[in-house]
């Protein structure tokens, strides 16, 4: 099964919330107080509390993992995530409401040292409440032929 580039994988709304920012900061040992103290954030020039760098991972709470894997015709037990990238157009701030639209960017079969594998690149565009692109995230999923 091969998917055509541009196929929609899923679309969710991701609010940027102060409590969730704090959870991410603590869970990732991120110490900069701009993420946990509004007055420090404003003194540093932010219009509110900035999200941590990988806050967008929290879209996982809103997505249906089993459904998206099935929609790609992949087997969850054979998938590993090879790489993830974030391209920031601006800092995400508490109060932003992002629409995260994830599509297939490429879908290839490759032959490597350990046999053949399917390599699917997904790209998610996070568009803010004003309709402006704020963040682009790419993830490369690798599915091996054998478990």
């Amino acid at each position: 099964m091969t998917i055509l580039p541009g196929q929609l994988v899923d679309e969710v709304e991701l609010p940027v919330e102060r409590g969730k920012i704090r959870e991410f900061a603590r869970a990732t040992f991120t110490a900069d107080p701009v993420h946990t103290n509004e007055s420090v954030a404003r003194a540093a020039g932010f219009a509110g509390v900035p999200a941590t760098a990988t806050y967008s991972v929290g879209a996982g709470h809103y997505r249906d993992q089993a459904a998206f894997v099935a929609s790609l015709g992949m087997s969850i037990s054979r998938i590993v995530v090879g790489s993830v990238s974030w391209s920031y157009l601006r800092v995400l701030l508490e109060g932003d409401v992002l629409t995260a639209t994830r599509v297939v960017e490429s879908d290839e079969n490759r032959v490597g040292k350990s046999g053949s594998m399917r390599v699917v690149t997904l790209v998610t565009r996070f568009v803010d409440q004003r309709g402006d692109l704020a963040l682009v995230q790419r993830e490369v999923l690798i599915e091996r032929d054998t478990p």
Binding site: K20, E23, F24, A25, R26, A27, T28, F29, T30, A31, D32, V34, H35, A44, G45, F46, P50, A51, T52, A53, T54, V57, G58, A59, G60, H61, Y62, R63, Q65, S77, V80, V81, G82, S83, V84, S85, W86, S87, Y88, V91
Partner: protein
């Protein structure tokens, strides 16, 4: 606004050590990010999949490196952050987080980062950072 950092090749933050990674560390990240794959919290599921114990999410390591990076250069100066997952991180691992500026061009610095467990780089990353450059 905070000033952009004036990074030069060879510059590094103080290395950060995290661990031994506990079940609580992994559970806390699961709660933050929403990844409830049983490989990350259920010993029986991890054993059934061939792992000796539960493994941390790749995004846990990515978040640790992002925290090292942004505590150093400021979240507002990160343009691109890319992480590659090389090997699993297990409960009990002690992780060393490392970063170094490899190149600067104009107002942009390139940084290499790694999560090291023992002698192995289990996660590697690169970043493009806005830097202060005299014009």
């Amino acid at each position: 606004m905070r000033a952009a950092p004036s990074l030069q090749p060879g510059d590094s933050p103080r290395p950060r050590e995290v661990g031994p990674i506990t079940a609580t560390d992994i559970a806390r990240f699961a709660g933050a990010g929403g990844d409830f794959n049983p490989l990350h919290h259920d010993e029986a599921a991890a054993h059934a999949a061939g792992f000796e114990t539960v493994i941390a999410m790749g995004q846990f390591s990515a978040g640790l490196l992002a925290g090292l990076l942004t505590d150093w250069v400021g979240i507002e100066n990160v343009r691109v952050f890319e992480v590659r997952f090389v090997a699993p991180v297990y409960k009990g691992d002690v992780l060393e987080l490392l970063a170094e500026v490899t190149d600067v061009r104009g107002d942009e610095a390139s940084i290499n980062l790694a999560v090291r467990s023992g002698a192995t780089d289990v996660v590697t990353a690169t970043a493009k950072i806005r830097r202060f450059a005299r014009s």
